[in-house]
């Protein structure tokens, strides 16, 4: 079961034209899997995450379908989605620290939320308190206002609240970005624990930080300029990536525990293309050191090894026949 996304295209309607932020994206997340979605700012990763839960009024679905546990998610229909949100698919939004209602005590806010979904707060309270304690907070935080809590505490609370109804899919958008390293670790370990305790079936962790994904994710999906670039298990993406973009990105990351005296890291020259009228062909072409004449055509996203898909002409010939074992 799990999540299946097929040929999804999401765009932003602007006065200058449609900005296709998620272009022809196909992937799946298995039950019990934590998938990391990585990419630079403006690559469409947050649009994809938000699109699966709630479409902004500026956003529109141009095509494709999303299936969760065998049922189609009506992502472009705000009213029809209401039934699924929070209960089946839940999000920890970016800037979760400001996601709590500042005028309500946390407990009151949760009770209103549960009531709107037809649940009783009193009945859910023991479980809520148990989970709050599980993430290392005092049950007393439910009687506090958000302003009385620190950023890390709020982040953890939002995660507890989002997963209270045991959703099938949790979308965690930049949950670790604004935190200190010690809190980052606690939140990262929470994601693993929530999965192990089956509070959530599958998780999608959206971040620009590959090193946090190396810690928590089972598989990593790399996006570039609205398109999928590479998907494979976390080890493979970190240690033996195939797409030139992933390779360059990983080789440009400084690390603790490595002496950099001898070798200087290099960045990737240039910047991603504008998503308003993007150039045809591979979108990484202009910055890619390995680009050749075939790159003027858009490379297909193909599985080249079991469980390892990449969109690059360098590897397209090695593609496995479609529909084989382990198709993404």
């Amino acid at each position: 079961m799990g999540l299946k996304v097929e040929n999804l295209r999401l765009c932003y309607r602007t006065l200058r034209g449609d900005v296709v932020a998620v272009d022809d994206v196909t992937f799946g997340i298995e039950d019990g899997e934590i998938m990391g979605l990585a990419g630079e700012s403006g690559c469409g990763k947050s649009t994809l995450g938000n699109g699966l839960v709630r479409m902004d009024i500026r956003m529109a679905q141009l095509g494709g379908r999303v299936e969760l546990d065998g049922k189609e998610l009506p992502i472009s229909n705000d009213k029809a989605m209401r039934r699924f949100r929070f209960a089946d698919v839940s999000i920890v939004p970016q800037y979760a620290m400001s996601a709590l209602n500042p005028t309500r005590r946390v407990g009151k806010m949760v009770s209103e939320l549960l009531k709107s979904r037809g649940f009783d707060y009193k009945k859910a309270l023991p479980e809520l308190e148990r989970r709050v304690k599980l993430v290392g907070l005092d049950a007393d935080v439910l009687h506090r206002y958000p302003i009385e809590l620190s950023g890390g505490m709020k982040q953890r609370l939002v995660m507890v609240i989002s997963t209270l109804l045991n959703p099938s899919l949790l979308i965690a958008d930049e949950v670790t970005s604004a935190l200190d390293v010690s809190t980052q670790r606690a939140v990262g370990e929470m994601l693993l624990e929530f999965r192990d305790r089956e509070f959530v079936k599958s998780t999608m962790v959206i971040t620009h930080d590959l090193s946090i994904l190396a810690q928590v994710a089972d598989t990593i999906l790399v996006m570039y300029a609205g398109k999928l670039a590479e998907k494979a298990s976390a080890d493979v993406v970190i240690n033996s990536p195939l797409h030139p973009y992933t390779q360059l990105l990983i080789s440009s990351l400084p690390e603790v525990g490595v002496r950099h005296d001898e070798k200087t890291l290099v960045g990737i020259p240039g910047r991603p293309p504008s998503l308003l009228n993007p150039p045809p062909g591979c979108r990484f072409r202009d910055r890619c050191p390995a680009a050749f004449d075939r790159c003027v055509e858009q490379p297909p996203f193909l599985e080249v090894k079991p469980g390892h898909s990449v969109a690059c002409w360098l590897h397209a010939d090695a593609a496995l026949p479609a529909g084989g074992p382990g198709t993404c």
Binding site: E40, S41, D138, D140, R144, I147, E148, G151, D180, V181, S182, Q184, R185, G188, E189, H208, D209, L210, S211, I212, A214, Q215, I238, N239, L248, L249, I250, S252, L253, P254, E255, V256, G257, V258, R259, H260, T264, L265, V266, G267, I268, P269, R271
Partner: protein, 341 residues
Amino acid sequence: MLSLENVTKVFKTGAFGGASLPAVRRASFDILPGEVTALIGESGSGKSTLGRLILRLTPVTSGKITYEGTDVSALKGKALREYYRHVQGVFQDPFSSYNPVFRADRVFATIKRSYFPEVSAADWRGRVGNSLESVGLNPVDVLDKFTHQLSGGQLQRILIARALLLDIKILVADEIISMLDASTRVDVLNLLSNLKARGLGVLFITHDLSLGNYISERTIILRRGIVVEMGATEKVFDNPQHDYTKMLLTSVPQLHKKWEPDTGVDLDETTEEDAKVLAGRYTKSELHPLARSHSRKGRRAQAAITEREAAEGLLRTDTYLRVHEEIPQLVEVEEDHLVAM
């Protein structure tokens, strides 16, 4: 050389400045030319405050900052302008460092007006061009553009180019690359490394240990306004002595290594003495936020909570620790490696 000697900064907080919050406590270190000094700390550790103190954006409460032997806090007028000729800063958010109404290259014009009014326009254009090229930008790409037409990396480099037009000796770089994308980050870092080869001293303020490890010669670890460990970067990173540094290093996510099990050291363990102090005596500023309720009933209920929490030691809030924590002595464990004991 810029040196800090027992620098302390206390901010007044609360409605009438009745409460005080020590942001930096007795920090002493030097920024040497030709070196990058990384100032690493978590949020609220006072690292940005230190940068602002050096740039004189806020006055020191006590202690001394000296540049080439002169006390910085006494500088005024012309002398202050001369100080800024040698000491400049670049900050985190490139988009808010510019006025979006004007073109980005206006930052050069303001420098010319204040420092080089006698230079001819043609000569100035040449200097700006050279400076932009030295930070890896093509002048044609960036001059006469508005901020929204430029990328974050470009804007950040323009600010560094602006600082280089002056005869700078010390650059305070406060989280300059945390807003940049991973693929362009490293280029700005390498730029800083090139600058230090030209004799510039850089104070690189960051919360990201991997960046500090990559770029710096010396590292200072700051916690709650106190320097807990400082020394040569490879010594601090390879042989951390303070529990806090160890905790940071085990928590930092690494690409090729999974998190090791927790060390299990509680850095803020409540001592019996703390519990006594807390139960008996606390000032308004250290009170739990809950204890500041407005209704009498609320205050009574909360006083009970506060008492209970104090007894359990929960009241060791950040503010309490900042005010009451003793400032440890820095002890030299090996050459060029000091640790708070």
